[in-house]
């Protein structure tokens, strides 16, 4: 049996930072303001490099680093980051335990031994793409795997590993048999111990120095040099052992287990077993979430597009991964924005074809949001995906469906953004005789063959409408209009046809009653005139 642990160090801090595009590369510290005096609890690498450490007050932190960004914890961000972590873990194995915030344990039972390392490495890379820098450990027991993940994290904190002196294997990755010359010591614990521990393990260091996976092969040799604090000794036992000069796991396990039990009791035996890697426990797997939704209350109200898109991209990446694991695709996206003025904006995006690709889903949102103007700032965002089964369809040989349905939907969305939502579409005639009666519908997916009987080619000239119709002064004679004057046309009427009288919907307020004439002017031009309520109008030009 083998287990893998995905560990996101400084989870609460990373959860906040991954939702803010403007914090990349800046020193950031997380403040815990629950106490009387707010204190730094977690820091990122630039902040640590500037000397800001956990336990400092906000003032002390700013004194050490003037540019530091101090942030409070965000439960919403942690919830989303936790969901991302679990989603990625489920991509490794269906049996996943939510061990602690930022830590999940994966049961690798049933997976081929050769896939443990590459699959775990892929999960770490996936977390990296979701904005979480994680490390992973692979070992026989959950405890050992967690310890390996922590050790990998400590090595990463100590600094990136130089790759110049090591042989390369695969795509930019190197398998390291002896990392003593390449890996720095952990931030805590003795340096020698870390080097020895790494000797007993295989460090898979990916091209990005922030990602590392540690696979434990020789447990005793791996554990032996590690500091005693890693196994969380009770404080009273820790003091006793420190007095005995025992500071590493190896020095504890060098003592006979029964003798330790005689002197330290059951707690001492438990500690010895943990130090020897003998502790095992069954994991408590949890089920994947059946809903595909993400939401976040924003700490600062968002007024511009970029931060909103940044958060939505995080949502979409995670939900697309979740969909892929469930072998589902998205049929519809629903975006809900809560605004600062108490109102809400809600928009559904029905996809032209069900899709699961994150880029496609994100583009549908982006295209719309680029033209959205809200009355006030956005204070929370929620994205819900309606899942469906992937569409499996074989196109007919002579089908003339859309070549790129998503591209077409995006094109229409972009054009809608320019001209307005109700001004793009396929016109459909209304079953009425009212002039200029039509509906705008959604373009069809497939242009089918023309229905029988065959439609004759148009012979007469179509009308080119003036919307709204142009008011005109028309002189009439016994045979109808004889001259027209308006801003569109003016002149003598040489020939005319009419009148055609139309009326309808007399029972409605919008009833119509018109007398229509088709006229030809001396200077050229065929126009449709209509007389409505004693007012002559030029409805359009035949062209």
């Amino acid at each position: 049996m083998s287990h893998a642990v995905l560990h996101v160090a400084d989870f609460a801090l990373q959860a906040v930072v991954r939702t803010r595009a403007d914090l990349a590369g800046k020193p950031v510290a997380l403040l815990d303001d629950r106490g009387r005096k707010a204190a730094v609890v977690q820091t990122n690498a630039p902040a640590r490099a500037a000397g800001v450490t956990a336990g400092l007050s906000a003032t002390q932190a700013m004194a050490r680093c003037a540019d530091i960004v101090l942030l409070p914890r965000s439960r919403a961000a942690e919830k989303d980051a936790g969901a991302a972590l679990m989603t990625v873990a489920w991509s490794v194995s269906p049996r996943v335990e939510h061990t602690a915030p930022g830590i999940c344990t994966v049961d690798l039972a049933g997976k081929a031994a050769g896939t443990h390392l590459p699959h775990t490495r892929a999960a770490v890379e996936q977390l990296q793409s979701l904005g979480l820098e994680a490390t992973a450990g692979i070992a026989r027991t959950p405890f050992l795997a967690l310890t390996a993940a922590r050790v990998a994290g400590m090595q990463r904190r100590a600094g990136p590993v130089s790759t110049s002196s090591r042989p390369r294997a695969g795509r930019g990755a190197c398998v390291q048999a002896d990392s003593s010359s390449a890996c720095g010591p952990p931030a805590s614990g003795d340096p020698t111990g870390s080097e020895s521990a790494t000797r007993a393990s295989r460090l898979e260091e990916i091209s990005r120095p922030a990602c590392s996976v540690l696979e434990v092969q020789d447990e005793r040799a791996f554990l032996s040099p590690l500091p005693l604090a890693l196994v969380d000794p009770p404080p009273d036992l820790a003091a006793i052992l420190d007095g005995w000069g025992i500071r590493t796991l190896g020095s504890l396990t060098a003592l006979p287990k029964p003798e330790v039990g005689l002197r330290l009791g059951q707690a001492g035996i438990d500690l010895w077993e943990r130090a020897a890697g003998e502790t095992d426990r069954p994991i408590e797997p949890c089920a994947p979430d059946a809903t595909f939704a993400a939401d976040m209350d924003l700490e600062h109200e968002v007024e511009t597009l970029e931060p909103l898109l940044f958060i939505l991209r995080r949502f979409v990446d995670r939900l697309a991964l979740q969909l892929a694991q469930a072998n589902l695709v998205a049929a519809e996206l629903v975006l809900e924005l809560a605004l600062a003025d108490g109102t809400a904006y809600r928009r559904g995006f029905r996809l032209p074809e069900p899709a699961g690709a994150a880029d496609l889903l994100f583009r549908a949102l982006q295209t719309h949001l680029e033209t959205l103007r809200t009355e006030s700032a956005i204070k929370s965002v929620r994205l819900v995906i309606t899942p469906t089964r992937p569409l499996v369809r074989q196109h007919g040989l002579f089908d003339t469906g859309l070549r790129d349905p998503h591209g077409f939907a995006e094109t229409l969305a972009r054009v809608e953004a320019v001209v307005g939502r109700d001004r793009v579409g396929t016109p459909a005639l209304e079953p009425r005789h009212r002039s200029d009666a039509f509906l705008m519908g959604k373009p069809v997916d497939v242009v089918g063959p023309l229905p029988p009987p065959p439609i004759l080619q148009p012979l007469g000239l179509p009308l080119r409408r003036f919307r709204p119709p142009v008011e005109a002064q028309v002189a009439t004679g016994p045979n109808g209009p004889v001259s027209v004057r308006c801003r569109i046309a003016h002149g003598e009427v040489t020939r005319r046809r009419g009148p055609w009288r139309t009326s309808g919907e007399w029972w409605k307020p919008g009833r119509w009653d018109a007398e229509e004439w088709d006229i030809e002017l001396t200077r050229g031009g065929l126009f449709r005139l209509s007389l409505r309520s004693e007012q002559w109008l030029v409805e359009g030009m035949y062209d």
């Binding site: 003339t400 094109t411 001004r423 002039s435 373009p443 080119r464 046809r497 031009g525 065929l526």
Partner: protein, 274 residues
Amino acid sequence: MRGSPENLAALRHLLAERFPQAAPRPPAVLPTGVAAIDDAGDGGLPLGGITEVVASAPSSGGQFLIARLLAATRARRMRVALVDALDAFDPQSHEAPLLQHLVWVRCRTLDEAMQAADILVRDANLSLVMLDLRGVEPRALRGVPATTWYRLQRALERTDMAMVVFTAEGRDVGKSGNRETAKSENLGPPILLRQGFGGPASGAPTKENTQAANQESGNSAQSGNGGLVGSARLRFNLAASLPLDALTGEQTGLALGLPVEVQRRHANEERRIA
């Protein structure tokens, strides 16, 4: 002998053998169903290029050409977009089945129309984009930079999409330039076929090209070439108003063709090589 016709023919033959992909191909076209235009345009509207239809007279058949294009493309089950700058298209003038493949963009301004066209020509699902700019203020139309037209042309190149731009700016077509007159039995009025279409060849909008196009578009009324689309590969001018009988198709020959004048870009690839 250097430069002799025999050597030239042999060189052409050798080049055609060595580089068959560079040999001129018969131009791909979209038949319109209007004989006058199909005859003048080597069988229809050129694919991958812009065709300008200048309606320089009222009721000269521009909308009729749109109707024929709708019918022709519907029969081939193609998808068509109509960018209507002034929202003038009348669906009631057309049979409902002939509108099923149409994406109608109802714009209010020239800017909206140009933006919409720029988006639509990049969609591979469409076979034809019609940009109707008739009725737009001539000054505004002349203010469209030549680079905009070249941008559209560049987007269309290497696609199998045709684009037709309807303008109403043309006047005095054919006052200058090398003129040929051809007659068709299907048509009452003659078709004027003018060679030596001014402006640069299709391709990248180089500085010289842009200047030439600016001169052409900016001085169209003066030079008399009748169009505003600098990058148009083919240009038709609908110069004659139709009579009242055209409303019911009673005019002889109307179903076969419209009275048009044709300008053709001289920089045809085939002619270049020849």
